[in-house]
Symmetry: C2
Subunit: 351 residues, 2 copies
C-alpha cells in the first residue's frame, strides 16, 4: 500500500538470486572513490587506509530473531557473546585483530530491561575476551523480534592483510580446528525444542553433547590462531572464515583467486564426538562438515614452503591443494572418486 500512485515496481522474488547473487547484483557496477578505501564489498571485511602504520578493517553482521537465532534455545548471554565473536571472526579472516565494535539492537516490548542486560553481559564478556572496545551503537524498538547489528573495526599490518583472492596454483588448502559440530549442536537444540513443545514438562536431554552444543551456542573466533600464524611467519595467500559451510567458502576462495581447489574427504577435520553424534542422529558427518556452517574456523591457502612449519600443529589440517582454474573445484571421496563442488552452503536468505 502506498499513497503515491507512481510506486509501481516489478515483482521479482529475491530467492531467484540468493544472498550472494543479490549482493553481486546490487554492487556489481559500484566503484569506491576515496583513495583510503582499498577494498570495498566482496571480502570478509573492507580494507581502509587512514595513513597510519597499519591498515584498518571494517565489517558488519546483522542477526535477526527466528532467522539467525531462536530464543527458545539460545540464552541471551550466549547470543550476545556469539554476535561479537562472529564479527571478530570476519576480522581474523583478513589476518587482522579486532579493536572496536558498535552494537545496534532493536527489540519489541516483550523484552524487559533484564533481558537486555543479559544480552549485553554476553557482549561485554566477548569484548573482554577478544580485547575489543564497545564504542557506540543504537537502541530502538522493533515491531516484532530482536535484531542485533554489530560493526567491527580491526587492524592489520600492511604486508600481512589476507584477501579471498591471492591463492596460487600448488598452494596448500588449510583448515583450522574441526568442522560440523556447530551444525549438529543446532540439530540437537531443534530436536529438544520439538520434544518440549509436545511435552512442556519434559526437561531437555542435552547430556553428553557438550562439545556440539558449545560450538553452536558459544562460537569463538580464531584470534589465537592468527597469533600462531604470525609466530610461524606464515602469511596465507588467501583466507576466509567458515561461517556458511566449507563448500561455500571453497567456492568464494577459488572464484576470487581465479583458481581451482581440490579437497579430500579423508583429510576433513571432524571431531570424534561429531562423528558419533552424527551417526546417532542419522546424519552424514561429512555432509555436516561440508555444509553445516557456523564453525567459525579459518580456511586459508599457503605456499608449500610452509608445510613443515604447519604439519605438527594440531590446530591446522591440510585438506587439499590449489589447482589451475580449468580443473574446477573438486571433492575427492575416500573411494578416490572426484565430485565437482557446487554451491550448497548455508544460505540465510533461503532459510
Amino acid at each position: 500500500m502506498s499513497i503515491f500512485e507512481d510506486n509501481k515496481l516489478q515483482n521479482t522474488d529475491v530467492s531467484e538470486l540468493g544472498e550472494f547473487g543479490l549482493i553481486d547484483h546490487i554492487t556489481k557496477s559500484y566503484k569506491c572513490k576515496n583513495k583510503g578505501s582499498l577494498k570495498g564489498v566482496g571480502d570478509d571485511a573492507a580494507v581502509l587506509d587512514f595513513s597510519g602504520d597499519k591498515l584498518q578493517l571494517l565489517s558488519t553482521d546483522m542477526l535477526v530473531e527466528n532467522i539467525h537465532f531462536d530464543l527458545s534455545y539460545t540464552p541471551l548471554k550466549h547470543l550476545g557473546y556469539k554476535a561479537v565473536a562472529v564479527n571478530v571472526s570476519d576480522i581474523c579472516a583478513m589476518n587482522g585483530k579486532a579493536t572496536q565494535i558498535t552494537v545496534s539492537i532493536a527489540f519489541s516490548n516483550r523484552f524487559p530491561i533484564e533481558a537486555i542486560e543479559e544480552l549485553y553481559s554476553g557482549i561485554y564478556l566477548a569484548c573482554e575476551k577478544y580485547n575489543v572496545d564497545l564504542v557506540g551503537g543504537d537502541t530502538t524498538s522493533s515491531t516484532s523480534g530482536l535484531i542485533i547489528s554489530i560493526s567491527v573495526v580491526g587492524e592489520v599490518e600492511k604486508e600481512k592483510v589476507c584477501y579471498r583472492k591471492g591463492a596460487n596454483i600448488h598452494d596448500l588448502v588449510v583448515c583450522t580446528g574441526d568442522l560440523g559440530a556447530a551444525y549438529l549442536g543446532l540439530q540437537i537444540l531443534k530436536r529438544e525444542k520439538e520434544i518440549f513443545l509436545e511435552n512442556p514438562g519434559v526437561q531437555p536431554d542435552l547430556q553428553g553433547n557438550d562439545y556440539a552444543l558449545e560450538r553452536q551456542l558459544k562460537a569463538e573466533a580464531c584470534t589465537k590462531l592468527i597469533d600462531v600464524l604470525d609466530e610461524l611467519k606464515i602469511v596465507p595467500t588467501s583466507m576466509i572464515d567458515v561461517s556458511d559451510g566449507l563448500t561455500s567458502e571453497v567456492l568464494h576462495l577459488s572464484k576470487q583467486s581465479e583458481v581451482g581447489i581440490t579437497i579430500y574427504e579423508d583429510k576433513l577435520p571432524i571431531d570424534h564426538t561429531t562423528m558419533n553424534l552424527a551417526k546417532e542422529m542419522k546424519l552424514n558427518p561429512v555432509f555436516c562438515a561440508l555444509n553445516g556452517g557456523e564453525d567459525y574456523e579459518l580456511l586459508f591457502t599457503i605456499s608449500q614452503e610452509h608445510y613443515e612449519k604447519i604439519k605438527k600443529d594440531i590446530d591446522f589440517t591440510v585438506i587439499g591443494y590449489v589447482t589451475d582454474k580449468s580443473e574446477g573445484n573438486n571433492f575427492v571421496t575416500k573411494d578416490n572418486t572426484s565430485h565437482p563442488i557446487t554451491a550448497q552452503g548455508w544460505d540465510p536468505i533461503k532459510k
Copy 2:
C-alpha cells in the same frame, strides 16, 4: 518460552528508563581499554586514533519499519538516501567528514528485488552526494518488515574534533538552517495516509508543502556548513546534530559540558512556510521547532570572539548563550519569561 528452566528473568519495562536512560544503564560502568579508542559511547560518534594524520570517527544508526519510517508514504529511494544522510550528519556533529559506510538490511519476502534496487539507488545517490564509499554490509531475511542498519566512518583533523562536552560559560549557542519543518512534513504525510485509508480513490493533497515534505523525505546532512566553519576558522567548543529535537540536544550539550544553556523564542530559526503550515495545521510552530526532531541541523557553541564572523551568514543563527550550570537550562519566551527546559525530545523508544 524457553527450553531452559533457569531462564527466569525479572521483568522491568524498558519504558521506565527511555532510550537514553537504557543506554546509560547498559554502558555506565564500561570503560574502553584500547589506547586507540579516544571516545566511546556517549557522543554523536566514537573517536578513534589509528596513528594517522587525522582521527577517525565511527557511528551507527538503525532504522526499523513502522518505528522510524512508514513505507506507505516513504518512497524507498528517499528512505535509502535519508538512511545515509542521518549517519553522515552524526559525523558532521563531530566536525568531521564521512568517508565510508556499511549498509546492512533485513527484509521480508514481500520485498521484490526491484524494491531493494530502489532502496540502494537512494543509498548510492547519497554516497555520491556526500562523497562516501559503500564498503560493506550484510543482507538477510526478516520475519516482518524492513530494517536498515548503517555504520559510518569519518575523519577529522585532531585539533578540530568537536564533542558534546566543551561548551564554556559565555559561549554563544548557534543553530544552522531552520527548525520544525521536518516534523510538519511528517504530520502532512500522516494526515494524507489517514485520508487515503478512508478513501483509497482520493489522491494525496501535498501541494504547496514542498519545503516541509522535502525536509522530512529528503533529509540532508550539513556537510557544507562544516566546510564553512573551517573557512571561517571556527572550531565549535561543543556540537551535536538536531535529530531528536532542539530541547533534547540542548540538554545533551549542557549535561556533558556541565553548563547551563539559555535559548530565546524570538531567535529560533523557523522558516515562514513552516510558520504558515503550522498555523494551518493548528500546531504551535515553536513547539514544532523545539521538539519536532529530524531536522538534522547542527547545534553548536562558539566563543564570543567569533560572533562578527558568523553574524552575516544566514546559515547560522545565534539562539542563546551558555551560562553557569547552576542557572540550569532555560527557554525565554517572547514575553520575556523564562521556562526551564525539560526532556521532551522525540524518543523513538517511547514512540
